[in-house]
Amino acid sequence: MVIYGVALLSFCMLAGVFAGDLLGDLIGVKANVGGVGIAMLLLILLSNLTHQRYKLSPITESGVNFWNAMYIPIVVAMAASQDVIAAVSSGWMAIIAGVAAVVAAFLMIPVLARFGKGGRADA
């Protein structure tokens, strides 16, 4: 049933966010530490249980896949509800700080990507 998939997804998210909050408390920061990431790992693990008894039926899967497909529309709604005014009207320092951080990170990606792949010399 479709609701099994939606329920599984919801359970994973709640469990992950809860774990992220606990982790934050544990290391003493006022933030959720990787809750969504933990939820993602949990979903991958639970949906990959190979035992026949726990295999998800295609209809159950469609309950997860619907929300997977809703990702882009949700991101569009997220973009439309950002505080863009605050980002662009607070003066140059904030803008330059934000832009410089992004540029530095973009430049860093190819460097790190080469590292992780075992230092292939030429790329």
Partner: protein, 253 residues
Amino acid sequence: MPETLADVLRGNALITAFVFVGILVWLSYLLSAKLTRGKLHGSAIAITIGLILAYVGGALTGGSKGLADFSLLAGVGVLGGAMFRDFAIVATAFGADLDELKKAGAVGAASIVIGVVLSFVVGAIVALAFGYTDPVSVSTIGAGAATYIVGPVTGTALGAESGVIALSVAAGLTKSVLVMVGTPLVASRIGLDNPHSAMIYGGLMGTTSGVAGGLAATDPKLVPYGAMTATFYTGVGCLLGPSLLFLAVRAVL
């Protein structure tokens, strides 16, 4: 009659948002196909139009939630809020390859720490260049260059003044908007086309909304990998900002 219609739209805010976003996405894909012959991804156009509308919404209403500050479009704020965003991000993991995650795990984790430190240092240097010299302000603005959550968390912990905290939020917002718009434009040049580099990208950028938007506009298949590392970034930033990084700034200044 118009009042009745407005009441219906307001009373069913989330459903109104589905229709609104549906039309927006449809228009964007139409523009992508007709104007750019598919070169510029439809979702990239949709996100950009969304940001422009958010600017217009903020300018007209004076609120902080973009279009969602129009009462008729309040549902857009619900649909685009953290709850549904995180829910959809988790759902993207359904298609993710566990082996890819394991392979890039170590460098992905390293990229989070490198990303936090890099953004912090860059932000702090900009703050210094603009004449801030006290360690608390410099650290708060540096933390804001990480994400708009790390900035205020660090600033509050260090007792920064509210104007500086507002600036740190603005720096983080600028970052997230730029990551959304800029990622598809530079993706091919920085090799952002596989799960491995997507994990590094998520760890270096760290802004969950920026990464979510940027990867959606580049290649939705990469979303789970980038989102996985990005969701740990804010936590790591909140851990390092008011502690190690602040102490380093105080030692230097």
